[in-house]
Symmetry: C2
Subunit: 403 residues, 2 copies
């Protein structure tokens, strides 16, 4: 029997409890006959009506000091006290399984090192892509490859909103309200719609792929709040869709270029068909080419099922470090924004002659808004783009095109 | 240093050699500092011009009896002598990594048991989906779930052919010739176009998911040779595409329903957008819902990269059985074909009145071929379908619709 504790009995925590209870027979088989027993649940709230209310505690020490508990599920969310708790547990040689992307993205370097040093594990499959297997496939299945690029639809809320705009002609505000009504978006949706959630996830994936810590603060992040229905219609007319993309490219000089922003995805890309609250992560390796992982990127049970899979894996590997690790580089690791060029879709109120003279090699797109001209540029760096936009004087909107 | 041997220096074998040589620095890092050294290559052919010709041997005993070789890559293909060699190696406690779907589907039960008994491993990530991580994600990442369904586009050759028919209006014969010209199809393409290749792969996935041996001989298999351009056009008119689908459903009574045949995939499914030689496998779990794995399902380097990932994983787990296993059930494991109903798309030369009277609840589709009527049936079992088709007397073609 393997004893586990759950820290945080919210949406994901109660999902982990539910899965471990209802699917226990199958889980025991997967854990090589070890029954997984929930010994403690930590939460500051009262759960007097819970059928196993005796498991609940408000005292972290009941878990830390219980030598029979070997694996702890941290699904509290937020940095504090999740960080302090996780650190103490790993230092005590206990393995921790988490869905806390904020914590992994911020303190992963330190926590993973402690786990390696203490011969235990800090597992975080559920922190990116919810129920989609992505961390372990990247760490174990694509190991023969040098990863060249990661392109992800990493946030279900924004993908739902954009999809409603694309498919149903809803405005951004209508789609956001709908997402909130369905429980896909928080009452304060900033972390999603401003791109911060996707940014933490791409930072984790980029760190994992490179072995070098990528600080999410260094990733230029732009949300979807400025996308209009006219943008969406224009993009459809050129055979694409707008998606919020978390992008990381591993350059030949060893540096990492990363950005989070809405991009135009060509309809021929498998990412274009990723609808609603689904997520997808395309990983490009030098030998395997493009592989894509698709599924529900959030939600109680999908996320909890990824947590439970990590718990089972850990029970199968007790006292055996998986050595998942990334380290802080001693020199600058991020490429300059100007190291990467994109083509841009641009709408302007200026005339075709001006556009042509400024944007060499541009291609005009049939206008669908009176008084506007729309075009696609040749590849430009952000500096080149900004300079040309300044000279143009009028930019209604502009969007990067994913290549 | 970990010594490995490669058995079979064909397309995949030379790809494994190439990747281990050119990506050795990165691979050593992934193998926790263990350099992976190719000590022997077994092939019956001569490779006098090879830069490491001294590695080649025609004598299997040079590998079997070399105690320093711990991991062997079997990429010979075919059943014999691959089966005998693999069995001898596993019995000697050496781990074997393979891309040989034929061998895994036929003798996997026995070979996996030997590996477990001898505390070594028989790994076969490359046997299904080429470079796509699917075996390990199913075995390690979806463990919290009861797998309900597997729906796969498992053969790149047929997907390329169907795609050429759908996108470019090629006939089946033209598309097959094109596939052969590009090297996607063998000169004798039967294994691909008759569905046998996809059948072996779905049998492996179904065995892995259920823990029970699914014999590919028990899976009804139909290829794509009867699909015409008119079928493809009809299917487009009802918002779908024709794909060769390997299907396995794990029924509530514990039985397994499996079939390989062309099916109509609705355009809203992420499987519909899987074009060209790409493969995709959709796995449905009770908690995670649908997850899909997409990528190059064949080809020298994608497949070899999956083999090398298994080698790295094995080097990281020497003398530690992963206990991947399925067993022969002591009672019938396969569901009867009649346990599963599908809706069918049907073309006939009979009149609407006859169709209506025979197919209750059917829905007519606008005809695009003179003198024909086309319709979609309500869900039917194969017996019900066959009986009604017999009464109808004229069926130009019929296709299952994937739900």
């Amino acid at each position: 029997m393997a004893n586990v504790a759950i820290m945080g009995y919210g949406t994901v925590g109660s999902g982990v409890y539910e899965i471990l209870k209802t699917n226990s027979k199958n889980i025991t088989r997967r854990a090589r006959g070890e029954e997984i027993n929930i010994k403690r649940i930590l939460d500051i709230r009262d759960f007097e009506d819970h059928p196993e209310k005796e498991l609940f505690t408000k005292d972290f020490n009941d878990i830390l000091n219980d030598d029979s508990i070997e694996v702890i599920v941290e699904v509290m969310g937020g940095l504090h006290p999740a960080y302090e708790f996780t650190k103490s547990l790993l230092e005590a040689g206990k393995s921790v399984v988490t869905s806390n992307k904020e914590l992994v993205a911020t303190h992963g370097t330190e926590l993973l090192k402690i786990a390696v040093d203490k011969n235990c594990n800090y597992l975080f499959e559920a922190s990116v892509g919810g129920g989609i297997p992505i961390i372990r496939p990247m760490h174990q299945c694509l190991t023969a490859n040098n990863i060249q690029r990661i392109t992800g639809i990493l946030n279900g809320t924004t993908n739902f909103i954009l999809n409603e705009m694309i498919k149903n002609g809803s405005t951004f505000e209508e789609a956001l309200a709908d997402a909130q009504k369905r429980g896909y978006a928080e009452r304060n949706p900033a972390a999603d719609i401003e791109g911060h959630d996707a940014c933490r996830k791409i930072a984790i994936l980029a760190s994992l792929a490179s072995g070098v810590f990528v600080d999410y603060n260094d990733i230029k992040t732009e949300g979807i709040t400025n996308i209009t229905l006219d943008d969406v219609r224009y993009v459809r007319s050129i055979g694409g869709v707008v998606k919020l993309i978390g992008y990381a490219e591993f350059m030949e000089d060893g540096k990492i270029y990363s950005v989070v922003c809405p991009m135009i995805v060509n309809n021929t890309s498998p990412l274009a068909g990723v609808d609603g609250v689904f997520n997808a992560i395309m990983v490009t390796g030098d030998y395997v080419g493009d592989v894509m992982f698709y599924g529900k990127g959030a939600g109680k049970l999908p996320t909890a099922s990824a947590v439970v899979a990590d718990v089972i894996d850990e029970v199968n590997h007790l006292e055996r470090s998986k050595r998942i690790q990334w380290v802080k580089a001693d020199k600058e690791v991020m490429a300059s924004p100007d190291d990467k060029k994109f083509c841009y879709f641009v709408r302007t109120n200026r005339g075709a002659v001006t556009v042509k003279s400024l944007f060499e090699g541009c291609r005009f797109v049939e206008s669908i808004v009176a008084g506007e001209i729309a075009f696609v540029t040749a590849p430009l760096s952000p500096s080149e783009r900004d300079e040309k936009f300044k000279e143009l004087g009028s930019v209604v909107s502009s969007l990067r095109i994913l290549q």
